[in-house]
């Protein structure tokens, strides 16, 4: 026991050291904000483990920190990104984008073709021919050294050995990159290609924190921190852009620009309809099956139960692609059967209504067993005397269902139905694996389809086809957070009503 306590103390000390090292590394990498965050967390944890006042919290800190770091923090970060312009065009930080511009080279058009000739003592020398016919040559040097070689005018006749062929040159490119040659007029050249050296200088030099000067023509670039671009004097941007805070611009786009709010409105409507209908279908089927399986006269219940539960037990990443294949318009088994029986091949992935029906069918198949199991548990808890009494007054099964079963399971079911609605509201896996949103609308600026849910819409905006609109996706996700938060609070309220004894 004492060794366990010692081991826990050692673990805590090790974690503290690791956190401090991480903070130091972050600080060294110019991420001082993150370093402060790590130190703050480490300080809180240490305080809790040292102070006797937080006895219980010692047990909760590991789990609470994990939830805070990997659930709460990404949510906060999502909201944070939604106020920026983070996207494919604005990937880098201001410093990194500026470094990219400062490292950019710019030639003045002059270049020389060159040959690399072996020289005595394992050394090499470079011979150059200008397009106008002048010849230059360097002194012998050792390949691999970072050297600055002055070139002398040469008559082109002093070839001592055959020059290296292209293949040998290609293997020496890293060594040649380290060579700078200086022409008699003082200009310097670097390796441009396998055949040529060219004048190479920095395209931009820093003037001040917010201006760069172009070396070619002396014009100025100005940093536009409002929109995340370095701009020329005439206002045209220079790539790469950088991340900048743009305030509510993304939200304004979603709610005021027709090219964004029209698809958003369509997707939102379908998302609500999908979640509602799916909750309704799965609950209805699950309830009916549960009622049937709770009927005392029915034999063979365990077998039925397993067979009926099976669709839920098969992993969704298997069963959804299975349906994707079965519903395939040309090669799928479902259309094969329909064609043989009725001579039709419905376009499950090209017609909006059919695609939505298919999504609902598949998700009902996936979800009814869960509802069935929940209903079975709740129905089992209903006292049997109620049904006996109702059969004495001659009530049929329908009346039992609507007068006894439904009213009694409604209250405990309510939070679970809200949770089911919320889960389906964000059912990215279903859409991503089944239709990927297809069929796509043809009249929208961003790619979006008839079966896209808000979650898959943001997924596509951020990670697929249209080009990494991370910030816009985060803005939409933040709107969904509000909806989910409302649902979550409703769920909690209903949960407490259903279970007052907690």
């Amino acid at each position: 026991m004492r060794s366990l306590v010692l081991a826990l103390h050692a673990l805590g000390a090790a974690a503290l050291v690791a956190a401090l090292m991480l903070a130091f590394a972050l600080h060294a990498a110019h991420a001082s904000g993150w370093a402060l965050g790590v130190i703050a967390l480490a300080a809180i944890a240490t305080w809790i483990y040292v102070s006797p006042r937080f006895m219980a919290w010692r047990y909760i800190v590991p789990g609470a920190f994990a939830a805070a770091i990997f659930i709460v923090f990404p949510m906060a970060y999502t909201v944070g990104i939604s106020f920026t312009n983070y996207s494919g065009e604005h990937l880098l930080s201001f410093e990194r984008a500026t470094d990219v511009l400062l490292a950019r080279g710019d030639g003045d058009g002059r270049s020389l073709s060159f040959m690399l000739e072996p020289a005595a003592g394992g050394q090499h020398r470079l011979c150059f021919v200008a397009d106008t016919g002048e010849h230059y040559a360097s002194q012998p040097f050792r390949l691999g050294d970072a050297v600055r070689l002055p070139l002398g005018v040469d008559d082109g006749s002093a070839v001592s050995a055959p020059a290296l062929d292209l293949r040998a040159l290609a293997s020496n490119v890293p060594a040649l990159r380290r060579v700078i040659v200086r022409l008699p007029d003082g200009s310097e050249m670097r390796l441009l290609s396998l055949r040529r050296f060219a004048v190479e200088r920095a395209a931009y030099v820093r003037e001040s924190d917010t201006t760069l000067r172009a070396t070619r023509d002396g014009t100025l670039l100005t940093a536009d921190h409002a929109q995340g671009w370095w701009r020329r004097a005439d206002g045209t941007p220079v790539t790469p852009g950088f991340r900048a805070t743009v305030g509510l611009a993304n939200y304004r786009s979603i709610f005021t620009e027709p090219r964004f709010y029209q698809p958003f409105a369509r997707v939102f409507t379908w998302t609500v309809a999908f979640a509602l209908l799916n909750t309704l279908f799965t609950f209805t089927i699950g309830l009916l099956l549960a009622v049937a399986l709770n009927w005392p006269a029915l034999k063979g219940k365990p077998g039925y139960r397993i067979a009926l539960f099976l669709p839920y037990a098969v992993p969704a990443f298997i069963s959804i692609p299975v349906f994707r294949g079965l519903f395939n318009e040309n090669m799928g088994e479902i259309n094969l059967v329909l064609f043989q029986l009725f001579g039709v091949r419905p376009g499950w992935f090209s017609d909006a209504t059919l695609a939505r029906s298919m999504v609902l069918i598949v998700n009902t198949w996936l979800g009814y067993p869960y509802m069935m199991i929940l209903c079975m548990g709740l129905i089992k808890a209903i006292p049997g005397e109620l049904y006996e009494a109702s059969s004495l007054v001659g009530a049929g099964p329908l009346m039992n269902l609507f007068r006894i079963t439904l009213p009694l399971i409604a209250r405990p079911m309510a939070p679970l139905l809200v949770a089911s609605f919320a889960t389906n509201f964000n059912n990215l896996t279903l859409v991503a694996l089944l239709t990927n949103g297809a069929p796509d609308y043809l009249d929208t600026a961003v790619p979006v389809g008839a079966t896209d849910l808000l979650a898959s819409y943001t997924y596509r905006i951020a990670f697929q086809d249209s080009g990494q609109h991370y910030a816009l996706a985060c803005a939409i996700a933040s709107v969904v957070f509000l909806i989910v938060a409302t649902l979550a609070l409703a769920n909690l309220r209903l949960f407490k009503v259903g279970q007052p004894a907690r």
Partner: protein, 296 residues
């Protein structure tokens, strides 16, 4: 049931049996079709549910063996399925262990200790469970992209990033273990406390040895949920050799390269063990999902 059955009862029982069987036949047909497709030659729809000719080619490819094609050339497996299964199991095993360790002590404190903000924290855990990680995918992606700049083995395309991303979702497990601890008599630890045991000692010596079953169930649940997770894995992993099974199995069915038969064999190979594991623990899973709302 003490009530005399009405005369129409027999017909009703028969009707319910018939309806249930028809429903089951309809819902299980897709699964049977997959079995047939995996054994049928070729990668296209072949017509009948019962295959006319049987072949094990799709199964060989799924198991990583090359097959001899009709043109006399050896055909290599299209995807490293076994590698994907290994990746999935590695991630799921580690993340299930981490989740279990993180939730177990919290559950103990929530079940046995009194402290300020206890019910608030519990409510917060319940609320958090409602927010799916799919909404924070961009943030998760950006975070691990940045972490990769500082700690390369924790960045994008690494399995450890996935393990970390999964380790936050413990609310459900805390509730499950807490419920189990509460069902154990508190007198056990009180007796230990009388003998001079600290709460830590009582927890490790008295409660943990009794908690074996629930810990096994939570481990299996966490393992399964990591095995079948798609969105986060699809964002964090890129290289074909790094993918988990849930992400990789999507690659079989593109219109340009439609490997229906190979997918079917892979689906059964990977899906069957998971399905059995799931059936085994379903009772616990459902009560975990509803966070104790159902006392069955």
């Amino acid at each position: 049931m003490a009530v005399v059955a009405p005369s129409s009862q027999r017909w009703r029982v028969f009707a319910v049996h018939a309806a249930l069987l028809a429903f089951i036949a309809l819902t299980l047909l897709p699964l049977l079709m997959i079995l047939s497709i995996s054994l049928r030659p070729g990668n296209f729809a072949g017509g009948s549910l019962i295959p006319k000719a049987l072949t094990l080619d799709h199964w060989k490819l799924a198991l990583g063996l090359s097959i001899l094609g009709p043109d006399g050339k050896w055909e290599a497996p299209p995807f490293p399925v076994l590698q994907w299964i290994a990746n999935s199991m590695k991630v799921a095993f580690v993340s299930a262990t981490v989740s279990l360790l993180l939730s177990i002590t919290s559950a103990y404190a929530f079940a046995r200790m009194r402290f300020r903000f206890k019910s608030l924290t519990l409510d917060a855990l319940l609320l958090l469970q409602m927010f799916p990680s799919v909404l924070a995918l961009v943030a998760i992606y950006a975070l691990f992209d940045r972490i990769g700049d500082w700690v390369p083995w924790l960045g994008l395309n690494s399995h450890w990033s996935l393990v970390l991303a999964y380790s936050g979702g413990i609310a459900q497990y805390v509730w499950l273990i807490k419920g189990y601890f509460e069902s154990l008599p508190v007198e056990l630890e009180e007796a230990a406390a009388v003998d001079g045991a600290t709460p830590l000692v009582a927890f490790v010596r008295v409660l943990l040895p009794l908690a074996g079953p629930i810990l096994a169930v939570v481990f299996v649940l966490a393992f399964l949920s990591a095995m079948i997770e798609y969105p986060v894995a699809s964002v964090l992993l890129h290289d074909e050799s790094q993918l988990t099974l849930a992400v990789g199995s999507r690659l079989f069915l593109f219109n340009q390269r439609y490997l229906w038969g190979d997918f079917a064999a892979t689906a059964i190979l990977a899906g069957l063990p998971l399905t059995l594991l799931f059936l085994f623990t379903q009772r616990w899973l459902v009560s975990g999902l509803s966070a104790g709302a159902v006392k069955g």
